[in-house]
Symmetry: C2
Subunit: 217 residues, 2 copies
DNA sequence: GCCTGTGAATCCATTCACAGCT
DNA sequence: AGCTGTGAATGGATTCACAGGC
């Protein structure tokens, strides 16, 4: 994604992963957690957990483990999820609507401040979350006014690139794209493409191989 | 995921990726595509494209390139996306509903045959796609009757594990889990965890670093 | 004794560079 | 000449194995 960093990208993704069971452990009153325990909960290798954390400091106590609360706080600080982020979303079909209402995002501090669509029939609709669907032509204006940092794209594939350009031009710095197409950006901006059917394709490939190995067994 | 295969998982994911622009090229009447062209469209290295394809056979013509139609057909055959798959979904909140209605899935042959929820207020609701929401206790019965192969989970985190167990026990062989928790399964079954807020966390980490490097510049 | 932190070793994936075919 | 297919080289990430501190 961005270059020049010494920290592997998989490490960043795993840090986010670690935070989920940590929250649960804290809630259940477990004060201390070992790399082994945490690794088991996330399905990774214990050494991996230790190495991931060691990139950012020494958070554990030898012979003891990690303080769950401290560790979670550190991870949140590292990922910058200890503050709120302002998002907008473009493309208010079913997926778009479901994301904008998503409680998980809100709880984690990802706040949608604007929702756009280019379909005139949708513009003006008041969503359950309180937002009103705005026309796509207001992207530039509202992104600036509301200081929106991240754009989420849930348009059809053929609109995704144009919307990306619009959003970046308006000042958005990062894009999460759900349209089933790779979206192109000028060097340094940050894009994550999440193609949900690619996930299914993956599943299906392995599933078919499983069937075949069962038949031959 | 499953072991014993010589083919890297990233290769499988890229094959799915390649198929998207291939469809577009075919539609626009381009009969031949080079690894360089295809690579550019997907943001990968040309040698990568050739190597990925070479795992499965020799699909190209030296000095010429790949026949777009043939290549797409081969990729679909490899991924087993040249047939339809039967899915069910558990958890009919906003996300669940949006997936079940998703046109992209249907077009690619991923067909939802049943939708479940445990909330009695939701049971019996007729969805736009034509399905009626069934109670979770009917999972076992319906999965068998409808020969459902893949289960999609869009429940809250605390129900995801129980639902996974139910689905696997009922005979589902693969699971796509959107609940924000790693779900645990007996060795050989196939699970893909897609935690959407992990994606945002990733974005946000890089975004914060971008801000910092801008400030120091 | 126990568990973290970490260099070294291993494993895996990507990229290079060129041989081979059209 | 052009572009694929592929062994060899490189570059990363994971895992091992143990030193270091509680």
């Amino acid at each position: 994604m961005t270059k020049g960093s010494k920290i592997p990208n998989p490490t960043i993704e795993r840090l986010a992963l670690y935070s989920r069971p940590l929250e649960a452990l804290i809630e259940s009153g477990t004060p201390i957690v070992s790399s082994e325990r945490l690794a088991a909960l996330c399905g990774v290798n214990p050494a991996q957990v230790r190495k991931d954390l060691a990139y950012f400091g020494e958070f554990g106590v030898r012979g003891v483990g990690y303080d769950a609360q401290d560790l979670l706080r550190e991870i949140k600080r590292i990922l910058s999820t200890d503050r709120e982020w302002t998002l907008c979303i473009v493309g208010m079909g079913n997926l778009g609507r479901s994301l904008v209402e998503n409680e998980n995002f809100r709880k984690r501090g990802y706040l949608f401040f604007a929702a756009f669509d280019s379909d005139t029939k949708k513009i003006g609709i008041r969503l359950p979350c309180g937002l009103t669907i705005e026309p796509a032509r207001k992207i530039r204006e509202l992104v600036r006014e509301l200081k929106i940092e991240i754009g989420v794209i849930t348009t059809p594939a053929h609109e995704a690139q144009r919307v990306t350009d619009l959003l970046l031009d308006a000042g958005v710095k990062a894009i999460l794209n759900f349209a089933p197409i790779q979206v192109w950006t000028p060097e340094c901006s940050i894009v994550e493409n999440v193609d949900l059917s690619v996930k299914l394709e993956n599943l299906v490939y392995h599933l078919e191989r499983l069937y075949k190995s069962e038949k031959s067994a």
